[in-house]
């Protein structure tokens, strides 16, 4: 049994109030080691989700895979207590995170929050009546990125890691940072842009996870600004960024590519087709700065490499699909030249 995994679960359970916490800590180590999420929903049973499925808690300390009337339900007080602990008893400190729907706590665990939004001109300015809390357990798996690291070590270009939610993208990036900043990576100068504070999980400036000896961490910085800050101040050889989403972030990466730094990014995409349908992904590939894309397996097999496709192959697919659609590309040029 991986005792480190069990400790991580116990650390995540500290986010909950006394009543729920005592029941979670009583779970068997086999469940704790494989748990991925702890979910509290107001008025409904508390669940622990993982590769084993969904487990329900009971007052006696028993856990079961069947939801029965005796399953422990999260009350409004439990949710409020959990919310207060997650915010460090200071909602104002985590205002922007709460409006974005999540707060990252000590240990790098991301706590998702949902409730009733308070909006001002279409912008979420606050959340009231928090109704659900989802504690995603952060884990370190040393060696999980060994297969991906080979692609990084051999190729000169950057790497994109694509996968659906809970496929282990952040876990792989974390281990890649450790390898790049360690002996295997030649102690390369690596900067981690850790906007959600999940990769390194720094507390008082000290990384809570092993991210290598020569890694610098920019915690909480918006990605679009952090790239330029990293380039100007840390002279990195590699920059690691988790979950590139907006075009603004892609443009920041493009600006950074001119400096010769290698980028290792993760992006949401459940399949090749999904990846190719995203304009941000196409734009990144077309920069020519990425050697390929690693597609990870889904939540049922997190952090496992399903497929590696070179950038050339993907660019070819992009070209062919635009040609087939009769879009801007070779089709129209040919028609023009013969006409």
């Amino acid at each position: 049994m991986n005792q480190e995994s069990v400790k991580r679960f116990d650390g995540a359970a500290l986010c909950t109030g006394k009543r729920i916490r005592s029941l979670l800590l009583m779970l068997p180590d086999s469940i704790k080691a494989q748990a991925q999420e702890i979910r509290l929903r107001c008025g409904r049973p508390v669940t622990v989700c993982g590769l084993f499925g969904v487990v329900f808690l009971h007052e006696s300390g028993r856990s079961s895979f069947i939801c029965s009337d005796s399953a422990v339900k999260a009350s409004i007080t439990d949710i409020e207590e959990c919310f207060s602990i997650v915010c460090g008893h200071s909602v104002h400190t985590h205002q922007s995170g709460i409006c974005a729907g999540y707060v990252t706590v000590n240990g790098g665990h991301r706590v998702g929050l949902s409730g009733t939004a308070v909006c001002d001109r279409g912008v979420v300015t606050g959340v009231r009546d928090v109704s659900s809390v989802n504690i995603r357990i952060s884990r370190e798996f040393k060696g999980i990125a060994d297969a991906v690291f080979e692609n990084v070590r051999v190729a000169r270009g950057g790497l994109i890691i694509a996968g659906p939610p809970s496929s282990g993208k952040t876990t792989v990036l974390r281990d890649l940072a450790r390898l790049l900043g360690g002996e295997e990576g030649g102690y390369a100068r690596t900067v981690i842009i850790d906007e959600r504070e999940e990769i390194a999980a720094c507390v008082n400036g000290v990384p809570g996870n092993d991210v290598g000896v020569t890694c610098d961490v920019l915690s909480g910085y918006p990605k679009s600004e952090a790239v330029l800050i990293a380039l100007r101040s840390m002279s990195p050889e590699n920059i690691i960024i988790d979950e590139i989403g907006s075009m603004e972030e892609v443009k920041a990466v493009e600006q950074g590519l001119n400096s010769g730094v290698r980028f290792i990014l993760s992006i949401h995409a459940s399949s090749k087709e999904d990846f190719l349908s995203r304009p941000q992904a196409i734009r990144l590939i077309q920069t020519g700065a990425f050697s390929g894309v690693v597609f990870l397996g889904g939540a049922e097999a997190p952090s496992t490499v399903r497929e590696y496709i070179t950038a050339g192959e993907l660019i070819d697919k992009t070209f062919r699909s635009s040609f087939a659609d009769g879009g801007i590309g070779a089709g129209r040029v040919l028609c023009g030249s013969t006409g």
């Binding site: 006394k18 207590e81 207060s84 008893h89 200071s90 606050g126």
Partner: protein
């Protein structure tokens, strides 16, 4: 000896009133301290309480050190309220309740809400402080004069008897 005891009692009562004035003054300063740190930094409440203890400006508010060293797993509001009840005996009931409700509402809303809370509590403490200061000088004088008068009367009665 009796005279001395009476005079001392008078002075003691006066000193207690003065202590209450100073405590209220520091309560007012505490709300400003919280408002300042909440608006200028993103620090959490436990950190702000720790800074308040370290500043040395709140020596009359003994409950702060208890809050600083307490386990907050029971909830910040509950810990704050308990510490005010146990370690702040010199405040009157109204001021104590105000201080408890200040702690109960801290950390529950966004920055704007927190600053409004601090402003509200600050104005209430300032009002109580002003009322008490007005009576303070009169009470101190009254206590001292009464103490001295009782002492003299006792001396006269005893020496006469």
């Amino acid at each position: 000896m009796l005279t001395a005891a009476s005079v001392l009692a008078g002075f003691y009562a006066g000193a207690r009133v003065k202590l209450r004035c100073e405590t209220l003054e520091q309560c007012t300063a505490l709300t400003s301290f919280f408002a300042s740190l909440i608006s200028h930094s993103d620090e959490s409440l436990p950190v702000i309480v720790h800074r308040a203890c370290q500043s040395g400006n709140f020596n009359r508010l003994g409950f702060l050190e208890s809050v600083d060293s307490a386990d907050l797993s029971e909830g910040f509001a509950r810990v704050w309220s308990g510490c005010v009840e146990r370690y702040q005996p010199c405040l009157d009931l109204q001021s104590k309740n105000l201080l408890k409700s200040f702690g109960a509402r801290l950390g529950k809303t966004d920055t704007k809400g927190q600053l409004e809370l601090c402003e509200f509590c600050k104005s209430r403490f300032e009002y109580s402080e002003a009322q008490l200061k007005k009576k303070c000088s009169e009470q101190i004088r009254l206590c001292r004069v009464t103490g001295a008068a009782v002492g003299v009367l006792l001396f006269v009665l005893l020496s006469g008897g």
